[in-house]
Amino acid sequence: MNGQGGSFFSRLKAGLSKTRELLFMNVEAIARGIGPIDENVLSELEEALILADTGAELSHEYVEALRAKWRRGELSDVEALRSELRRMVAETLRPRMAPLDVRPPYPFVVLVVGVNGVGKTTTIGKIAHCFKGEGHPVLLAAGDTFRAAAIEQLKVWADRVGTDFVRHKEGSDSSAVAFDALRAATARGTHVVLIDTAGRLHTKSHLMEEMRKVVRVIGREIPGAPHEVLLVLDATNGRNAIAQAKTFQEFTGVTGLALTKLDGTAKGGVVLSVTREIDAPIRFIGVGESVDDLRPFDAGAFAEALF
């Protein structure tokens, strides 16, 4: 088998060049008076980013930037490397820290969208609780007329939080629900209307068109509304969240993001890619199933938890 000799030779060559590279870098590092940093540390950081769903490409970008800084002698040791990476991630996301403020003219209309099971209905319950706590009268609209017992689920939240509630029968048109909710809110002087929608995969164009229609109907009834189109993303999702964000952006004009289920072990690193694709800030994070488990997004804390 003559292939064997060749492969051994090429392995040897590869091994040698790797050693050469390491030697060179260490010499360089020592010459600059900084402690040698093992290549392994950089790969470990890259691995950690990937495991946090940051994506191979983006993770590589971050680590390359880090490597460049280290080569320039800006970083002295492993700890400095780590905290610099955290700082870089936090910097990327800091501009996306913008809480959702209820402001007149009332009603302030929030449409909540996203793929199936990400936590839309639950997040609505939590947001309602939060706004109610700030003294705003709130109305929940049961715009998910499709999923089994989705209306009842939202009703439980409305009762729990103590908000108004508008519903139609299961199977009815969700824009009609939205329309009625806006009428009711205007009549009653409600400050905030939170509209639930059925989960839908972004790939289903007829369902996305339906979503577009809901937005249109809302805007026709109250100029300038919806004041917020909140896209809910599930932190346990991987790279698919990017496609979700892009498509919902296209059909509904997303103005804010909520990242749920960060109480688990998933890190939600995909938002680093998502925020490259769409402009919306991250309004909230979800950290559990109860009414209090909602937090404003904090870039520093997020970066801290990422790896």
Binding site: A52, N116, G117, F146, A148, G264
Partner: protein, 445 residues
């Protein structure tokens, strides 16, 4: 998204294309592309490492198949290895025991447990079993109601769970009730929970202990990212899963979680959910899943078809002719016959990595079956000389050919135009390929 990944695989092919065989020296670049594609498909980082190591070993040790080029061979190994990893064992439910057989559905919040319960009930009913649905989620608002509505939609009875009761008691009582009532399969819809929630994980273990289920199925979302391994491992450690249901496969997620989950649990993937409706449940096919994760469409089919239909000597000859611009209508005819053997042109082009986007621009050149027949008739009505030199086809010759083939002059003209297009297309392809040219085009291989 799809195109994007197939293009990546075209990259894989390129690095191996034109090489004599897969070797230590040339495999690294290809493996790197595979690694990236798998990470982009959400396969867990560590699983990717293991997988590519296994592929490397296989690829280096493999007999070189004379009929495949190294790039095709490599892809075949990658795909085969992945399908093998996800396949194997029986993917049926374990129902062969004294009824009623409890089946537990477990998983993270929102993964699709309740919906999958409904789907499985319908599936079992179609198989002439008598399923019984049990809502054991007393936590999430209207979770019990949700299963009741689903049961109502398909006419399957649902246990009237007491929302104030302990889920363990609910399950135990419900199974007893099913036994007395003559139901043979009991689907237990448990609440969504985090794998790190010790109390709730313990609840599942107690349910398992109380009812001794035939199956414990982890319901996982196809969109799950890197975390899939942590989740699956924890559920498996606590419960010894017997299977996995992968939901929301009707979207465009590549579903790398399937490979991750399988790698850490060894539990077989039994079903996939492909929609919100209750009939949207399908058996799991390892082959299809591997293609999906790899994002390579039907490239394997292509490789196989190419293998069957084209022999190397002919391809060489053709390549030589192309080089010398000696591509004639006779060759065109031969190619058309081959294309017909391989399936339609569009299918074929769709199978070539990176060709997705070019498909549209080629639509005009793709013959359908009827057109193909007429085209062949036209060519057959020509003299040998005419076939070899289309330039001599003047008006009267064209008229004669149209008559002879039962077509019209317009059709003859169109064929000649198509031929010229094909000639141009083939030249472009062979220039776009490596120096070895058209040989690497699957249909010339």
């Amino acid at each position: 998204m799809f195109e994007n990944l197939t293009e990546k695989f075209q990259g894989v092919l390129k690095t191996l294309r034109g090489q004599g065989r897969i070797s230590e020296g040339n495999i690294e670049a290809a493996l790197r592309e595979v690694r990236l594609a798998l990470l982009e498909a959400d396969v867990n980082y560590n699983v990717v490492k293991e997988f590519t190591a296994a592929v490397k070993e296989k690829a280096l040790g493999a007999e070189v198949l004379a009929s495949l080029s190294p790039d095709q061979h490599f892809i075949k190994i990658v795909h085969g290895e992945m399908a093998r990893m996800m396949g194997g064992e029986a993917r049926e439910l374990n129902l062969a025991r004294r009824p009623p057989v409890p089946v537990m559905l477990v998983g993270l919040q929102g993964s699709g447990k309740t919906t999958s319960c409904g789907k499985l009930a319908l599936f079992l009913q179609k198989k002439k079993r008598s399923p019984f649905l049990v809502p054991a989620d007393v936590y999430r608002p209207a979770a019990i109601e949700q299963l009741k509505v689903l049961g109502g939609q398909i006419g399957i009875p649902v246990y009237d769970s007491d929302p104030g009761a302990d889920p363990v008691d609910i399950c135990r009582e419900a199974v007893k009730f099913a036994d007395l009532s003559g139901y043979d399969t009991v689907l237990l819809d448990t609440a969504g929970r985090l794998h790190i929630d010790e109390e709730l994980m313990e609840e599942l273990r107690r349910i398992k202990e109380a009812v001794d289920p035939g199956d414990i199925l982890l319901v996982a979302d196809a969109m799950t990212g890197q975390d899939a391994v942590n989740v699956a491992r924890a559920f498996h450690q606590k419960l010894s899963l017997t299977g996995v249901v992968l939901t929301k496969m009707d979207g465009d997620a590549r579903g790398g979680a399937a490979l991750s989950i399988r790698a850490v649990t060894g539990a077989p993937l039994k079903f996939v959910g492909v929609g919100e409706k209750l009939d949207a449940l399908e058996p799991f096919f390892p082959d299809r899943m591997a293609s999906r994760i790899l994002g390579m469409g039907d490239i394997l089919t292509l490789v196989e078809k190419a293998q069957d239909t084209i022999d190397e000597k002919q391809a060489r000859e053709l390549e030589r002719k192309l080089r010398k611009s000696q591509f004639t209508l006779e060759d065109f005819r031969e190619q058309l016959l081959r294309l017909r053997k391989m399936g339609s042109m569009e299918d074929l082009l769709g199978m070539i990595p990176g060709m997705g986007g070019k498909l549209k621009e080629m639509k005009g050149a793709a013959p359908d079956e009827g057109e193909l027949k007429r085209t062949l008739a036209i060519i057959d009505s020509m003299t040998r000389e005419e076939r070899r030199n289309v330039k001599i086809l003047n008006g009267s010759r064209r008229k004669r050919i149209a008559l002879g083939s039962g077509t019209s002059v317009q059709e003859v003209n169109r064929l000649l135009k198509n031929f010229q297009q094909a000639e141009g297309m083939i030249k472009r392809f062979s220039q776009a390929g490596t120096r070895k040219g058209a040989r690497n085009l699957p249909f010339f291989r």
